[in-house]
Symmetry: C2
Subunit: 213 residues, 2 copies
């Protein structure tokens, strides 16, 4: 029973909890206290208990948390079992790498189609899926009803494709383009991934180290 609204900071930490609990489970650890988990994850025990209690009391006083049980609860909260139909737009270097590298299924998504505008690429097979031409998008969406779209296309094309996809029923964008997609429509989720910005913050810190440290 999640509270009315969970803060963005908490949501961003959930996948990390899920990941660490998965590793603990695989190592055969059955139970863990907020204190032990905090050491592992470099957080405070307080924060862990606060975060988890946004969704419910998953622990037991004097015992701690059951690793497998807590992991499953967080998985349910995140929706890993929902298997949302997903498409990738853009089968260049990045689109192909995402298709091949990301395990969509374990993250609540199923990759159903990949699209590109370049006829030289369409027909290629990536992650067992034939790349379709973007002209087939409308027909495909009517048939398969994807709800998540991964955008690996140039900046200039992004807003137009996004609008088109919203009309076709897409409700979540994982946006790798250089364009800051902001959901005009309130019922659309957007996760902008700016790899260039990420590198630039590292550059800043690297230079700080050199200059001061």
């Amino acid at each position: 029973m999640p509270k009315n609204s969970i803060s963005e900071s908490v949501i961003k930490r959930l996948p990390r909890y899920y990941r660490f609990l998965g590793e603990l489970m695989n190592s055969g650890v059955e139970r863990i206290s907020s204190g032990q988990l905090s050491e592992l994850m470099k957080l405070t025990a307080s924060q862990i208990r606060q975060d988890l209690n946004c969704f419910g009391g998953f622990g037991q006083q004097g015992y701690g948390y059951n690793v497998a049980g807590l992991r499953e609860e967080i998985g349910r909260i995140l929706g890993v079992d929902r298997q949302l139909p997903t498409i990738i737009i853009g089968a260049g270097n990045l689109g192909k790498a995402i298709a091949a590298h990301i395990n969509f299924e374990t993250r609540g998504c199923v990759l159903k189609g990949i699209f590109d505008i370049d006829p030289k690429i369409t027909g290629e097979t990536v992650a067992d899926i034939a790349v379709r031409h973007i002209d087939e998008l409308e027909k495909f969406c009517r048939d398969k009803k994807p709800v998540v779209a991964v955008l690996c296309i140039p900046k200039a094309a992004t807003q137009e494709i996004a609008d088109r996809l919203v009309d076709l029923g897409i409700r979540a964008f994982w946006n790798f383009s250089h364009y800051d997609l902001s959901a005009k429509h309130s019922s659309v989720a957007v996760e902008n991934v700016h790899l260039g910005d990420s590198l630039l913050t590292l550059t800043y810190r690297a230079n700080q180290m050199t200059d001061n440290g």
Copy 2:
């Protein structure tokens, strides 16, 4: 003259300022006020002025900010002109895509080498650079003295390679592996990019939309 310590939140916003100012410059915009920029970037004008004043007074009362000038100042702060020698470890799907897709030069880095452990891959050319075998790492680092390393390798290999690279003089990691690399050494910068976690937060929000909105 940056203040002693700039908060992580401010640093994470700098690349986005840099990006928007670049676009404005390319569109021929010469000056902009914090109010106008705030509308464009969906921030408050207050925040923009606070952020910029961490580094100095770049504006002019009654006028606003000179776009090209402010962009250059932020570029200098980030260190885009330093051109740090950079290597990529791991030339699988993701390593190749990063090599091909990211413009390192405009972000203060120069890609100098790519390494992989798989002899089937070494010798291939990616982004005009021949993939070297990981055994050549020591020799290469003595010669070329790279300071930034991009890790596109499996989780299991990450900590060991990272330790080895620190000994070889690497001072910043852009880490795409599934391992939470935390700098043991205080003079090493780490930027963990967890694409899986990013997708998972989107899955959460996509499901929220469906359930509530």
